[in-house]
């Protein structure tokens, strides 16, 4: 029972990073400039590396013939625990950056909590990941400021992206039963505690970037419990294709 809860928590952690990593991977060779292209795919690689750590631990808990690959690629859509935010399409560079920034700030806060987890594996993964995610936060924050406080066009595009994506941000902090268990047992992050810090950080940076958070936002919830948006099917179709068509295929 305890093992199953921990397994589910590992999915929560891994799935956000994995789906965002997949979205960023779509940009490989399509970034607005070479350096940015490389940065985004490097971030994707960091995220996938972290996911491998979570899913290797999950596979051990699950036992049987579960592997990191089967957990990553052979689940059904409703079994993925990621949020709506990370499944949003790339649209344009402003959307890529806004999505990244909203996730990075959350990701950094959660990892800092996991560094104090009662679970040793999570402590090790978090200590490793935080060094990478600190760079991610720097990267997305810098671009938010550059585009927000840039030209009229870049400002308008950045503001549109913020307006579009903000509605998906609060799902990150709406704890599922698994996340409530994780917080109460000292294994995971207490999302209620992190939410005000998140709001403060995001608001402060957006203000610096001369951007505004939209008012009267109707926040969207549900992906974490398996009710994904239409986007998810397309992501998984591409993501799972090889393993579904050629089971156990390896590079």
């Amino acid at each position: 029972m305890l093992q199953e809860k921990l397994y589910n928590y590992l999915l929560h952690l891994g799935d956000n990073s994995m789906i965002l990593g997949q979205r960023l991977g779509e940009l490989c060779g399509h970034g607005p400039e070479l350096e940015t292209d490389i940065a985004l795919t490097n971030i994707s690689l960091d995220l996938f590396g972290q996911v491998r750590n979570y899913f290797q631990a999950a596979a051990q808990l699950k036992g049987g013939d579960a592997t990191e690959d089967s957990i990553a690629m052979l689940r059904y859509e409703h079994e993925y625990r990621n949020t709506y935010l990370v499944e949003q399409p790339n649209e344009d560079f402003a959307h890529v950056i806004a999505r990244q920034f909203f996730f990075d700030v959350y990701h950094q806060l959660v990892l800092r909590e996991l560094m104090k987890s009662k679970n040793e594996t999570l402590v090790a993964i978090a200590n490793k990941s935080i060094k990478e995610v600190d760079y991610h936060v720097d990267f997305s924050s810098t671009w938010i400021k550059r585009l927000g406080d840039g030209t009229e066009v870049s400002h308008a595009k950045m503001q549109t992206a913020v307006d579009t994506l903000w509605r998906y941000s609060m799902e990150l902090f709406k704890a599922t039963d698994t996340e409530i268990w994780a917080a109460e047992s000292g294994v995971g992050a207490d999302l209620d505690k992190l939410k005000p810090i998140y709001l403060e950080r995001v608001s402060a940076l957006l203000e610096e970037a001369t951007l505004q958070l939209p008012e009267n936002t109707v926040f969207q919830y549900g992906a974490k419990t398996g009710m994904h948006s239409e986007n998810m099917g397309f992501i998984l179709a591409e993501f799972q294709y090889m393993q579904r068509a050629y089971p156990n295929m390896k590079w």
């Binding site: 350096e35 940015t36 490389i38 940065a39 490097n42 971030i43 690689l45 960091d46 995220l47 996938f48 590396g49 972290q50 491998r52 750590n53 040793e120 402590v123 090790a124 993964i125 200590n127 490793k128 990941s129 060094k131 990478e132 760079y135 720097d138 990267f139």
Partner: protein, 162 residues
């Protein structure tokens, strides 16, 4: 540090990061433990970055190097304690510089350089300190891309990781 024989050390030194061939895995500081159990060397290595695609290759290369001397080796990837650029040896830093990759600086210097606040990263081509960061993410996750304002050569800087 590892308490290993010169023979084993030279075997491990012969394996390098496929993306930075001048840097042996010993000088990178990623070999954390070597233990001989029965007739098998159990070797623990730690990744530089979580997503470093070189780790699998490095593991295979170690096993192959041992096999070439008729020895058995198994590889275990450990995450804790997390790798830091402080574990790169003096010799490793030198070979990086000679290869054209600026070696990591201290955390404070690194931050100032990456934020563009100070020119402290030396051009590996002409030695000038008048350099600028082009991109915080370079050809691999562990490097940032710099350019020299004097000789205009681009070069990699191995980011500080603590």
């Amino acid at each position: 540090m590892l308490g290993i024989s010169p023979k084993i050390e030279s075997l491990l030194t012969s394996v390098s990061d496929p993306e930075i061939p001048v840097l042996s895995i010993m000088d990178m500081g990623i070999v954390r433990k070597v233990e001989l159990l029965d007739d098998t060397y159990n070797i623990e290595i730690t990744p530089t970055y979580s997503g470093c695609p070189a780790m699998d290759t490095i593991g295979d290369d170690i096993v192959t190097a041992f096999k070439s001397k008729g020895l058995n080796a198994t590889i275990k990837l450990v995450l804790a304690p997390a790798w830091t650029t402080d574990w790169i040896t003096e010799r490793g830093r030198k070979s990086l510089e000679e290869y054209g990759i600026a070696a990591p600086r201290s955390a404070e210097v690194d931050k100032a350089a990456l934020l563009g606040e100070a020119n402290t990263i030396k051009c590996t081509n002409c030695g000038s300190l008048d350099t600028k960061m082009v991109s915080r993410f370079g050809s691999t996750a562990c490097k940032a891309l710099f350019q020299c304002n004097d000789c205009h050569e681009p070069f990699d800087y191995f980011k500080c990781l603590k």
